[in-house]
């Protein structure tokens, strides 16, 4: 095969388009499940950081620090190989979902912690003084206010998670990155490096870019709103 961008190479990729579509779908599925898991972990662990009970706050710190300060690649190897050797085989898909969910759950927890922490103490007290339960206070008063602070970094985490499906390669996954790599190194399909990687990149871009754009827009909108609110406060102070 001659030339990185030769017609042959492109045709080869086209002929195996099903491989790329399969990888794309696998990456999407794994991501979606892992995103859900990371959101649940993020909310639960994040709320723990706000608890009155020191045990829950400790759990939050240990979880977040441990997960954030060890490589994702190591975590997924532990989950897959270490557990496999002890006789608990999870399977590639489940391992991928768990590893990504647990890893990004730690980051989501920090996102939720920051978002809820940004709400003034008086809001919590107003809800408590009215007799709201913890859940009622969070649901009606605190979360609706923190959601606009939480959303932009939350979407960034989702984008990172989707890109991090690449680590599934280490356990022989059938995600987009793994299948692309297998394709370009395969005995019968090998060699079409440039087109294959371009297609792979384009597919990732197709999911991640709109999400990033959305996050950016939210962030800009948030800043504008903050400006308005600060202005309104100034007006109040001046009256």
């Amino acid at each position: 095969m001659s030339g990185l961008f030769s017609e042959d190479a492109w045709l080869m990729v086209w002929a195996h388009k099903d491989t790329f579509i399969l990888g794309f779908m696998n990456t999407l599925e794994t991501s979606m499940a892992a995103i859900l898991l990371s959101l649940v972990i993020g909310i639960v662990i994040g709320l723990m950081s706000m608890s009155d009970r020191s045990l829950l706050r400790s759990i939050n710190r240990v979880y977040v620090e441990f997960i954030q300060n060890t490589p994702l690649l190591l975590q997924i190897c532990v989950l897959y190989y270490a557990l496999a050797f002890s006789g608990h085989k999870l399977g590639i898909l489940l391992t991928g979902i768990l590893a990504l969910g647990v890893y990004h759950g730690a980051y989501m927890a920090e996102v939720f912690r920051a978002g809820i922490g940004a709400i003034p103490k008086g809001q919590f007290e107003a809800a408590e003084s009215q007799g709201f339960s913890y859940v009622g206070k969070m649901y009606y008063v605190i979360l609706p206010q923190s959601i606009k602070i939480i959303l932009p970094p939350l979407v960034n985490q989702i984008v990172n998670l989707i890109k991090n499906t690449a680590v599934l390669y280490i356990i022989g996954g059938s995600d987009l990155i793994s299948l692309t790599y297998n394709f370009v190194t395969g005995a019968t399909t090998g060699g079409a490096y440039a087109p294959a990687y371009l297609v792979c990149g384009a597919l990732f871009f197709l999911i991640c870019f709109p999400l990033s754009m959305l996050a950016g827009l939210w962030e800009a909108n948030l800043k504008k709103q903050d400006g308005r609110e600060a202005g309104a406060e100034k007006k109040v102070a001046a009256t």
């Binding site: 003084s129 709201f132 102070a237």
Partner: protein, 242 residues
């Protein structure tokens, strides 16, 4: 007794902010708590709805002991609070601020809750602000809305924690006027932490002076104007009564 504080002590870390506070408030009584900042007056009212939990001692509300376990129900059913910083919910309109607790906690229908809300908006003179968001209102208006929100749950007790301290001088009176009207017309038990001695003189049944976490002197408001006994009280009053 509507409220009874029984040998309340409160520590923040190593600092003792309340020392053996004993205080009883009758049903319908208007009690004003005055004193220099850092004297524990805010902490005292915040113990009455367990926003602060006493380190030791007992709080009784309407005959029932307030505990960590029952505080949600007991506070919901008996007390409201008006804060120094208003603490209106900024993501809701005024009407939503007023109807949230009645609908979600007191089982009122939307119609009932809105009827109540408009009634109390009339009381505070802000019916036309029902659809406004809190941060578009002046401080005085926000505090009047906060008072309406406290009234909407029709509790027997309203606690006021320095309700005019964050306001500009021009808007203080409009808030005080609403509070005076309430004190004169309604049989609500009011506990008010404030520096407004004119307000105390007009509506208080009893004034309590606190300093260094203790109650130093108490009596009817005239007592404080005519012949306070404690030197700390005399010095403090000479500074705030002009």
């Amino acid at each position: 007794m509507m409220i009874k504080l029984d040998h309340i002590n409160k520590y923040f870390g190593d600092v003792q902010v309340l020392q053996d506070i004993n205080l009883e408030v009758r049903e319908g009584e208007k009690l004003v708590i005055i004193g220099p900042s850092g004297s524990g007056k805010s902490t005292t009212v915040r113990c009455m709805n367990f926003l602060e939990e006493p380190t030791s001692g007992h709080v009784y509300i309407d005959g029932k002991e307030l505990t960590r376990k029952n505080k949600m129900e007991l506070v919901r059913d008996t007390t409201s609070m008006v804060f120094q910083q208003f603490n209106l919910y900024p993501h809701m309109t005024v009407l939503k601020n007023l109807t949230l607790a009645p609908m979600k906690l007191h089982g009122k229908s939307r119609e009932e809750a809105e009827e109540l809300a408009y009634h109390y908006l009339d009381v505070v003179g802000l019916r036309n602000k029902a659809d406004a968001y809190p941060n578009t209102l002046s401080g005085g208006q926000q505090q009047r809305i906060a008072i309406a929100r406290a009234l909407c749950v029709q509790s027997k007790i309203i606690l006021f924690d320095e309700p005019t301290s964050a306001l500009d001088p021009e808007t203080i009176q409009e808030v005080l006027d609403v509070m005076i009207k309430l004190a004169k017309e309604a049989n609500i038990t009011m506990v008010v932490v404030t520096h407004e001695m004119g307000f105390a003189r007009q509506v208080a049944d009893r004034v309590v002076f606190m300093a260094d976490g203790q109650i130093l002197e108490e009596g009817p408001p005239e007592h404080f104007f005519l012949n306070p006994k404690n030197e700390r009280v005399k010095k403090f009053l000479s500074k705030i009564i002009r």
